[in-house]
């Protein structure tokens, strides 16, 4: 499926979704409360069949936490990139996509561990790498601890 077809399809279903500027994959920017339904639609639509979430991660940017999903279809082979921006840095929260792809459950645990983004309805949202009593979320840009070196 080409980029144009994908855009038409997604925009047809979700008119609010904005188009991103990524050159590599077709990129769609959705609102946090929309991402779950967008993901479900992409997985269940017979034309897209995005059944393989190969990467889900976050980045701490100036305008908030960017949550990035890389999806592909194991049968059809096309990829898509979804993005949602959580502008509230103090209390970032988004609906989990763990129910759609099992892999997301563990990616989200990692994101929660390192960014502190809360995933609503996640079945087992615990720290995955760090100790349970760790204070702070290391991958945030404002994170500081006794090991941080000042450059």
């Amino acid at each position: 499926m080409t980029r144009e077809e994908m855009t038409a399809l997604v925009r047809g279903k979700f008119p609010d979704v904005k188009l991103g500027s990524n050159k590599q994959f077709p990129e769609f920017i959705a609102a946090p409360d929309q991402i779950h339904s967008l993901c479900t639609a992409l997985k269940e639509d017979a034309q897209t069949k995005m059944d393989y979430l190969f990467c889900e991660t976050a980045a701490d940017r100036k305008d908030g936490f960017h949550l990035v999903y890389h999806l592909t279809s194991s049968a059809l082979g096309h990829c898509v990139m979804l993005r949602t921006v959580l502008t509230d840095k103090a209390k970032p929260e988004v609906e989990t996509v763990g129910g759609i792809w099992m892999a997301a459950e563990f990616y989200e645990r990692e994101i929660f561990d390192l960014f502190g983004i809360q995933f609503a309805h996640h079945p087992d949202l615990r720290r995955i790498f760090l100790d349970d009593d760790w204070v702070g979320y290391p991958l945030r840009k404002d994170y500081k601890d006794s090991f941080t070196l000042e450059h």
Partner: protein, 373 residues
């Protein structure tokens, strides 16, 4: 540690829980599997990782792109070349430059040698997991030959730091081609021995066939890639899906099975070694002349986001770079194969015996630093 709901629940049920790891011979590193048993049967298990979490992603934000190598090497230390290649390709794509054919050929040969070396080590360790202790020495004996090739060209045996954004750290050693050809010839003779010792063995068949069956749906759902995914019929070889370096130029088969049990995960790797040998044979005599390093003013990605997928020995490695255009990346994420491969263990090991759990986790070929990063 805080008691989670699950822990309290377990105490009430008085279940027989054993901790495999962090120091346990079968976990090949510091991974802890909290296994709940019923007799010898695994009821369920919970993996606990993070024992060697080094914060590579955080560290990467403070390093320039060429400096990233020495960290990516240490994620999946058995696929060090391929990890470096992933970063190099990602940065090159971002800068919109293309390396010479010579570099592409050398990278591919090194990647395939790495794949063989990694599978050899896995084969050795897998035999050990099942109690066949001699396999360990045969596998390592042959792996040593590859490490010698690496050492001659790159100067290091395990953590090579050789493939860099823009090309290679140096040209290959004059002996490289000769030695590699010698190795291919040697290993083509030794590989049937592996089959004789383990693949055909009736006890090995009994121990692995029909154990830990993973369906194709599960593999896709959990994101299990690499040999475990392909044993389940998941068409996930990045070398085929999104070819990079010299892979478009060579002929090779993607090994696919549909059974998805431990034995076929084993078989995929054995057959992949044959395929890797044939890839090397196709390339080794035709390395074209050319520059090994692009003359770039400064290696930095322009503003934007870039993603690169490569196939390591264990599955799909993704490098996700967010750049603000500066010399340092704003954010780097490594989508490592073992992280996804680990969590399917709970699903496929349930209902099997504890001895099978060892076989299954061995067949997933987990490298713990790659999980923890």
């Amino acid at each position: 540690m805080e008691e989670t709901l699950l822990d309290i629940e377990l105490k009430e049920k008085e279940e027989y829980i054993i901790n495999m790891g962090p120091q346990h011979p079968s976990t090949h590193g510091v991974l802890r599997l909290e296994v709940c048993l019923e007799g010898e049967k695994v009821k369920y298990l919970r993996p606990h990782c993070g024992y060697i979490h080094r914060g590579i992603e955080k560290m990467s934000e403070k390093l320039t792109y060429p400096q990233l190598l020495h960290l990516t090497d240490r994620m999946d230390y058995l696929s060090a070349h391929i990890n470096n290649e992933a970063v190099a390709l990602c940065v090159e794509n971002a800068m919109e430059v293309e390396v010479s054919d010579r570099v592409k050929y050398i990278r591919t040969i090194l990647a395939e040698l790495t794949r063989i070396a990694s599978h050899q080590l896995w084969w050795s360790a897998f035999g050990m997991d099942l109690g066949a202790l001699t396999t360990f020495f045969y596998g390592l004996r042959d792996r040593e030959k590859i490490l010698d090739i690496f050492e001659e060209t790159t100067g290091s045996r395990l953590i090579q730091s050789y493939i860099t954004p823009g090309g290679l750290m140096g040209d290959i050693h004059p002996n490289f081609q000769k030695r590699t050809k010698e190795f291919v010839k040697y290993f083509r003779k030794k590989l049937p021995e592996y089959d004789q010792l383990l693949t055909g063995n009736v006890i090995f068949h009994e121990r692995t066939q029909g154990i830990g069956i993973m369906s194709k749906e599960d593999a896709i759902d959990y994101g299990v890639t690499g040999p475990p995914g392909r044993a389940s019929g998941f068409h996930c070889d990045i070398r085929k899906i999104a070819p990079y370096s010299a892979y478009p130029l060579v002929k090779f088969n993607q090994i696919l099975f549909t059974e998805g049990d431990t034995f076929h995960r084993y078989l995929v790797r054995i057959k992949e070694m044959w395929e890797s040998l044939s890839i090397i044979e196709q390339l080794i005599d035709n390395i074209p002349p050319g520059e090994t390093m692009l003359s770039l003013k400064a290696i930095k990605a322009p503003k934007g986001e870039y993603y690169q997928r490569v196939e390591t020995a264990r599955g799909e490695l993704g490098v996700y770079i967010v750049s603000d255009g500066g010399p340092l990346p704003a954010r780097i994420h490594y989508r490592t194969p073992n992280f996804s491969n680990l969590f399917v263990l709970n699903k496929i090991a349930q209902g099997h015996k504890i001895a099978d759990l060892v076989a299954i986790s061995g067949s997933l070929d987990l490298v713990i630093p790659d999980i923890d990063r």
